[in-house]
Symmetry: D2
Subunit: 339 residues, 4 copies
Amino acid sequence: MTTNHHRYDFASDNTAPAMPEVMESLTRFNTDSRASYGDDDVCERAAELIRAMLDADAVVKFTASGTAANALSLAALAQPFEAVICHEHSHVATDETGAPGFFGSGVGLITLTGGSGRFNASALPDVLARPDDPHWQSPAALTLTNTTEFGALYAEADVAAIAGAAKAGGLKLHLDGARMANAIASGFDVKCLAKLGFDIVVLGGTKAGSTPTEAIVILNRDLARRFGARLKHGGQLTSKSRFLAAPWVGMLETGAWTSRAAHANAMAKRLAAASPFRVTHPVDANGVFVEMDEPTLHRLHHAGWHVYRFIDGSVRFMCSWATTPELVDEFGAVLRGLV
Amino acid sequence: MTTNHHRYDFASDNTAPAMPEVMESLTRFNTDSRASYGDDDVCERAAELIRAMLDADAVVKFTASGTAANALSLAALAQPFEAVICHEHSHVATDETGAPGFFGSGVGLITLTGGSGRFNASALPDVLARPDDPHWQSPAALTLTNTTEFGALYAEADVAAIAGAAKAGGLKLHLDGARMANAIASGFDVKCLAKLGFDIVVLGGTKAGSTPTEAIVILNRDLARRFGARLKHGGQLTSKSRFLAAPWVGMLETGAWTSRAAHANAMAKRLAAASPFRVTHPVDANGVFVEMDEPTLHRLHHAGWHVYRFIDGSVRFMCSWATTPELVDEFGAVLRGLV
Amino acid sequence: MTTNHHRYDFASDNTAPAMPEVMESLTRFNTDSRASYGDDDVCERAAELIRAMLDADAVVKFTASGTAANALSLAALAQPFEAVICHEHSHVATDETGAPGFFGSGVGLITLTGGSGRFNASALPDVLARPDDPHWQSPAALTLTNTTEFGALYAEADVAAIAGAAKAGGLKLHLDGARMANAIASGFDVKCLAKLGFDIVVLGGTKAGSTPTEAIVILNRDLARRFGARLKHGGQLTSKSRFLAAPWVGMLETGAWTSRAAHANAMAKRLAAASPFRVTHPVDANGVFVEMDEPTLHRLHHAGWHVYRFIDGSVRFMCSWATTPELVDEFGAVLRGLV
Amino acid sequence: MTTNHHRYDFASDNTAPAMPEVMESLTRFNTDSRASYGDDDVCERAAELIRAMLDADAVVKFTASGTAANALSLAALAQPFEAVICHEHSHVATDETGAPGFFGSGVGLITLTGGSGRFNASALPDVLARPDDPHWQSPAALTLTNTTEFGALYAEADVAAIAGAAKAGGLKLHLDGARMANAIASGFDVKCLAKLGFDIVVLGGTKAGSTPTEAIVILNRDLARRFGARLKHGGQLTSKSRFLAAPWVGMLETGAWTSRAAHANAMAKRLAAASPFRVTHPVDANGVFVEMDEPTLHRLHHAGWHVYRFIDGSVRFMCSWATTPELVDEFGAVLRGLV
């Protein structure tokens, strides 16, 4: 086994190991024989905990991939000849290698602009006013991401305004909550989602610090019909689903899902303070985006720290549940040494 | 948390928990930050172990679903307007809810018959002789399953005859090895696959006793180009891939993958001996298929034992790494009490 | 230009030229500039004539391919993870090169058996009783073909029984009417379709004697939403749609669509009488299916007559609007010379 | 039959009727029975004429839709997890309702910018330099349109530069020649395409003045394998293909395809001269694009002339084979009356 020559600590929140509460829960439920394909008590327990947290009577399914969870959900919300409205820098638009188009048989994306990955409700009337026409893919659904790809939080009022405009325009609503734990830790009230009429919400386990697992929360129960078959058809029905559900039981029973996200958020704030580079986006969650020229980035890489230049040209540092204050301070010193 | 009222011990090999070697390995590699999306040392180590076992210079990828691993692989081997030859009772034909058609954009299946899930090389000339014609989906690939859905082992000579005929006919070759560990434990030489020209082999971790993980082994390296993008596009590229690879390291370094399959196979033989019902298929691996009428099956269910009537009308009992001799004996007594 | 060495007169009903009423209508409307993509007065006129014939307030679209018309319609009636019930020998199951799976993203087919391409309502309860399960594609729609691939007519009572059982089971209904003109000419009351709850009916122009055109008749108007976009997305929205609509105006205004089908049906009856071979299916429409061994078929081919051995082993002779009594008599003599 | 209240003469080149040479040829070949699905002498004759014109040993297929011809061709050139490079205003990107994504199972589009629908070879190195990465759809093919959506002609040297850079970068090459007749009439040497390594070229019949027909010209014969099955699977194999081929025989034997395009081009120049509005794009082909404010456009519509505001904000006037000098002069006077 080779040593890790590069350090991925700030490269992404998915480079971190799994938190103790997840490993404990995997072990706890690793007993007995249990029904497969999600019909077991562990899946049921995880679903109950998620329903309680969202204060909603949802159907909950688990997948090992956030890309799949998003793409498969969007395919349930828009027909192939329709489109989904999203931010131009959203994960579905920029980082899923066309998975929405694959799961949605060529479903379209209509991209909106806006700073730090957030778009505004005021952008919707123009899109919705465009008449139905066989020559373009009319919008049927809208997806927003909270917190965004740029670590920014949508305020609840902004989400409400977007959801209201979307619903008024007949759109179905999807939320990519890959970092919903960070949003909650930053003050977002997750119970608003059902009230605002979101149809499907994807909650991220992986980036929050789990082994691979994402929860597809189907708030609109009309859409739940034959969802198991939808998952299986799409290669997303795991036989030993207990191992996708157990992490949620561990994270939600203990509160670790949000408390550890709060830690990650705090580490990002600490890093932003320690960094000498201009910060380019709000540090609402666990990411710090900075202005850094190419030679400087090269020196950082050369020093062994693997980080990415992001879509907008910023360099991104991600914190996670596993980021320690000492690590932040070490990295902060490295950054200060670059300038 | 509710108690399990039903017992799933013999319902499937995917109702079992994960073996200790898997849990140990998950814990062992749950340290440090590591590159995501398969570019880490754990994935590399698992791949090396698999290459050594197959004696082949393969590219290896990991997914959480065997259905997806098969469907995505077949899509790499046949165009949408072509077909894949398979057994009429194969998993891809009967138990994947159309996933091959989804991943393959309507790719066709040409089904062959044969006892206990095995078809014979002699069936191929007829299929291959049919002229190319725009009105049907000509065969481009062949898939076989070893051991089969009915717990039968293809002898190496039979696999060689099929592979030879297929290759001569210009077909690409896929093996569904969801239970390859059981096949190896039953005497199959896995090193023959590369020599026989198989293009992609899927090795099953889950049913062998792992947390969810399957290995896609790409023996034909021409097909490996942009396979990561293929996985991502198909919703099958897990960010924290280390947790799909670590089980393989644990199972292969210790030999548990095959030694525990040997145990499962032995438990099936013990159960076949203990059962008063007529056995309907060879007990080459970890399944026992018996003739049982509906009222008897009903009584067995009523006694709390969850088992399935299978495609061919047999009732199926599956053993796993976790099946103990005591459990077999208890179940054997239950079965004898039914007659 | 080479001479036709082979004679295709009885090979298919799509080997015939276009009838005079079609050519006249194409010429008649080949004036002026007109709106594209179906928004013109010729399309509107054709749709009106079809609505009047079916006595139903339908939305009507035109395509150049019957395979596409069927496949695209079925995709509107079943989700990708569901299935369509059809006859095992139906065109969608045997003769569309997987197009239903392509347009339907892997949608499944559940095949029923029955003589001469007809299945019976009594086959449905078993299929519909099977519980929803994520591991198979549950039926969502049913398609029947009238007249069938074997030239047999479904009696109206049989269609009603099937439609009733299907509707009671929650299925959507599709009719492949590639040879509906022949069915009507053989006594079928096309007005029953709307009353029986068919959702989409495809009416065949091409085989009836037109230049390429098929009518997709959407009786369930809920399904008509954004159907233009569905067509365009599926590569089926022809810009100069007038040329797909004009044939219908010509055929329906004059009654030629059914009167010429009646002629084709009569020619088939005349041919059945003239042929020395055992007839294997009812001669309800424009096809004659006979028992003929391979050497005899070979001699027929050698004599220059191109005809096909069909799915069930019969040899098929198709008549069309263009088949003359003299031609039937000539071919009858050839056939008699073979025995 | 209602009267046309609106005049579509300048709305599009697909609002025109079919030219006499097409109608004559349809009638000429509307005799005898002929093989279906493209295996007839008319299809062969049309293919020969196209091969002669392109000076290339190509396989030629005919479809009724240009959108389908493009989308299906691109699916032959790029895998679903790859992308096609195109102009941001190309038909495939803006006017096909996601058909490329449907036929290509989520294939991606990478859009380049450039005036009047033309991009430049200098844009390619940046796109091609981006490393293969599983998180984006790497380019596998390039498509360009000549003449462009804005009526501009790519000079042969520019096409050569693009093709050279693309081929050097390992890309497959597609040309959308919906208006190739106009390009040829404007001086483009169509024989260069095969020499430059284009893999598939789509030649437009419809906009040139035919009944619906487009030719898919497969210059790279490796791609021709099972193309008939590809067409059928995609709903694009017309049974009575002779009616898609006959127009080409008529247009190419007489030279009308290009001579009438030359007329359409000349009418556009005459209209540009007659129009009082600022022309926004080169008048290289049969379109005139002008600057016109919304109230003025409204008055033009009110006067009964149906024309479109195009993607870039210009108002578009299209001429066709059927546009007469008198009509141009009438319309020119109308336009002058608006200012």
